[in-house]
């Protein structure tokens, strides 16, 4: 049993980063995730001599991450929606240059400057690109403070295994809420080996190492793309994570991640008490998307309801996986408003009525 603490999601994530032995963190303040930068600045250097630097912008942060990752460091940044938008060019470069790193988006309501309240409006941006070009980013969606902590090391390990950026997509509520969290032991960051591809100074025994995403000959660029797509396929096969709750006998299947999965679970329980067969699929990785779990449920379910804090984004992936076998509907609140379990129950009852006719 690790150390138990009562912590805010943002602080649990920051604490987990120190314990995961990060070499560097570069960030810029933005609500609702500034506690990550504050906590790390307070604790990071003192405890593990890790580099914690407040950059002049999110654009600078992500490019500092690029540089440090290219030099073989375990490095991360965090921000919230508008700040993540600013990072998109850098994220595309990181994916193109195949650098491992961890990014955190504590999603707030948009578009534009929007609101500081929780939202899941960045699903498209996180899973469908966001930046330019054919790239993919592994997206982990925590739904508890415990997962805010656990996904840090897990995120780094996947990133390093595939030389690809991993994003933790949380939201303002998960960042700010306090829950009990069990923390893992401190990893020794100096014990980690520096990868051979990193720019650390060209020694006589090897060619010079280059970190780049530029392949100006189209034939070469296509080959790079083919290799990347092969890697993404491999990630899809190996790293898809999903939680299914009472889906086996469900007529109505809720699909929800992060904060809305918690609320959906409560709605599911209310429905079960009423004798309705309702289940929940909670994607933990948003990319790769757990399409197989959804498709499997579609073999027996009569209807799907995607519950999201947005206007209907993930529902498109649910529809793709269900592939027309039964109705797929969406229920969402936007702009920082969180739905209640009762609102979801109402939608479930309405859907159930229609599909049972």
């Amino acid at each position: 049993m690790g150390e138990l603490r009562l912590m805010k999601g943002n602080e649990a994530l920051a604490e987990a980063a120190i314990r995961a032995g990060i070499d560097a963190y570069f960030g810029y303040p933005i609500t609702p995730q500034s506690e990550v930068l504050e906590y790390l600045t307070r604790e990071g250097y003192n405890r593990t001599q890790t580099v914690i630097l407040q950059a002049e912008s999110e654009i600078a942060s992500i490019n500092m991450v690029y540089g440090a990752a290219g030099a073989g460091a375990r490095v991360m940044t965090s921000s919230s929606s508008p700040g993540i938008s600013l990072m998109m060019e850098g994220i595309s470069y990181i994916a193109g240059a195949e650098l491992p790193c961890l990014l955190v988006n504590v999603n707030r309501g948009g578009p534009g400057l929007g609101t500081i309240q929780p939202s899941q409006g960045d699903y498209f941006q996180s899973t469908k690109g966001g930046g330019h070009g054919d790239y993919r980013m592994i997206v982990l969606a925590p739904s508890t403070v415990q997962e805010m902590a656990d996904f840090v090391l897990e995120g780094f390990e996947i990133a390093e295994k595939y030389r690809n950026p991993t994003l933790i997509l949380a939201d303002g509520a998960l960042g700010q809420m306090m829950e009990k969290v069990e923390l893992r032991e401190q990893l020794d960051r100096k014990a980690r080996e520096i990868p051979g591809w990193a720019t650390t100074g060209k020694t006589k025994d090897r060619d010079h190492n280059i970190i780049t995403s530029l392949f100006i000959q189209p034939e070469e660029m296509e080959q790079v793309n083919i290799r990347l797509q092969k890697k993404y396929k491999e990630i899809e096969q190996n790293e898809t994570r999903v939680q299914t709750i009472q889906v086996e006998d469900a007529d109505i299947v809720l699909v929800a991640y992060g904060l809305s999965a918690r609320i959906s679970r409560k709605a599911m329980e209310i429905c079960r008490e009423k004798g309705m067969k309702v289940g929940l699929i909670r994607p933990i990785t948003l990319w790769p998307y757990p399409s197989a779990a959804v498709a499997e449920a579609a073999e027996h379910a009569k209807g799907f309801l995607a519950v999201e804090l947005n206007a209907g984004q993930m529902v498109e992936d649910v529809r793709l996986a269900v592939n027309g076998k039964c109705p797929v509907e969406h229920y969402g609140r936007m702009g920082g408003i969180i739905m209640s379990p009762e609102e979801i129950v109402e939608k479930i009852e309405d859907l159930a009525k229609r599909v049972n006719q």
Binding site: A55, G90, T199, N209
Partner: protein, 267 residues
């Protein structure tokens, strides 16, 4: 497709004395730069310094976006290719996690003084212990001759076809003068590569800057005033003369900031 028509000439090396060799910090590659371009000279000067100081295995360079985007095809050192304007942020990331290495950026005027102004100013203001090499040829070369922040008043480019007009395009940005007073800047100088004497001075400045990096006292910044025969629309020799007559009055050569004796002694 046309075959490579370059004629290979056999030279009897044995009968000749070697007076000048390619340092092993430069790769044996044919550069893509236009004839007479200053980039090749600047590359060579930096790589000679790295070779002479014996720090090839401790040096990490950052290439920009612009004509010198492929600097790593020629420089035989570990390098990273940064997004446009972000070389100073990338170099910050490298230097912070590898503080015992020599880190430098190589950037053009568009990269450093337009899109990357923020990263440049803040990296220097933090006193990042690295070298910034700023190649100023007053034009965007790679994209085909558009106006740069350093384009001279009246100078024609594809986006100032009637000459740069102050009322419309603003003034040439003297970014080197702008950053020199920042406390994080340790050594700031302006050189050129238009004459053999200036090339030698450039090399000395680069050498000093690498030596100063050992002291861990702040950012070194070397502006190299260079040419762009192709986009200036003149032969190489003429471009070097044009540089002397037009660029240097606006961008005068010499030190803008040098460490004091005390600073060097206390280092």
């Amino acid at each position: 497709m046309e075959e490579n028509t370059m004629i290979e000439v056999d030279i009897a090396h044995d009968e000749m004395d070697i007076v000048c060799e390619r340092p092993d910090t430069l790769l044996d590659a044919r550069m893509h730069y236009c004839p007479g371009c200053g980039h090749g000279v600047a590359h060579r000067v930096i790589m000679e310094v790295v070779a002479e100081m014996g720090i090839q295995d401790q040096t990490i360079g950052v290439a920009p976006v612009g004509c010198s985007v492929f600097a790593y095809h020629y420089m035989n050192i570990d390098m990273q290719e940064a997004a446009h304007g972000r070389a100073c942020a990338v170099a910050t990331g490298i230097k912070r996690v590898r503080p015992d290495k020599f880190v430098f950026t190589y950037q053009g005027d568009g990269d450093l003084a337009a899109i990357g102004t923020g990263e440049t100013v803040h990296a220097i203001n933090r006193g990042e212990n690295m070298l910034i090499v700023f190649i100023n040829n007053a034009i965007y070369g790679m994209t085909g001759g558009q106006m740069a922040p350093t384009t001279l008043i009246g100078q024609k480019s594809t986006t100032s076809p009637y000459g740069r007009e102050v009322g419309f395009n603003g003034h040439p940005l003297k970014i080197t003068d702008m950053i020199a007073p920042l406390p994080g800047a340790f050594y700031v100088t302006r050189t050129a590569v238009n004459t053999p004497a200036n090339v030698r001075k450039t090399k000395k400045a680069i050498q000093k800057a690498f030596e100063y990096q050992k002291l861990n006292r702040g950012t070194c910044f070397v502006e190299v005033v260079s040419n762009c025969p192709t986009n200036w629309g003149m032969p190489p020799q003429k471009s070097n003369e044009w540089l002397s007559e037009n660029m240097l009055p606006m961008y005068p050569l010499g030190d803008l900031k040098t460490p004091s004796k005390e600073e060097l002694e206390n280092a």
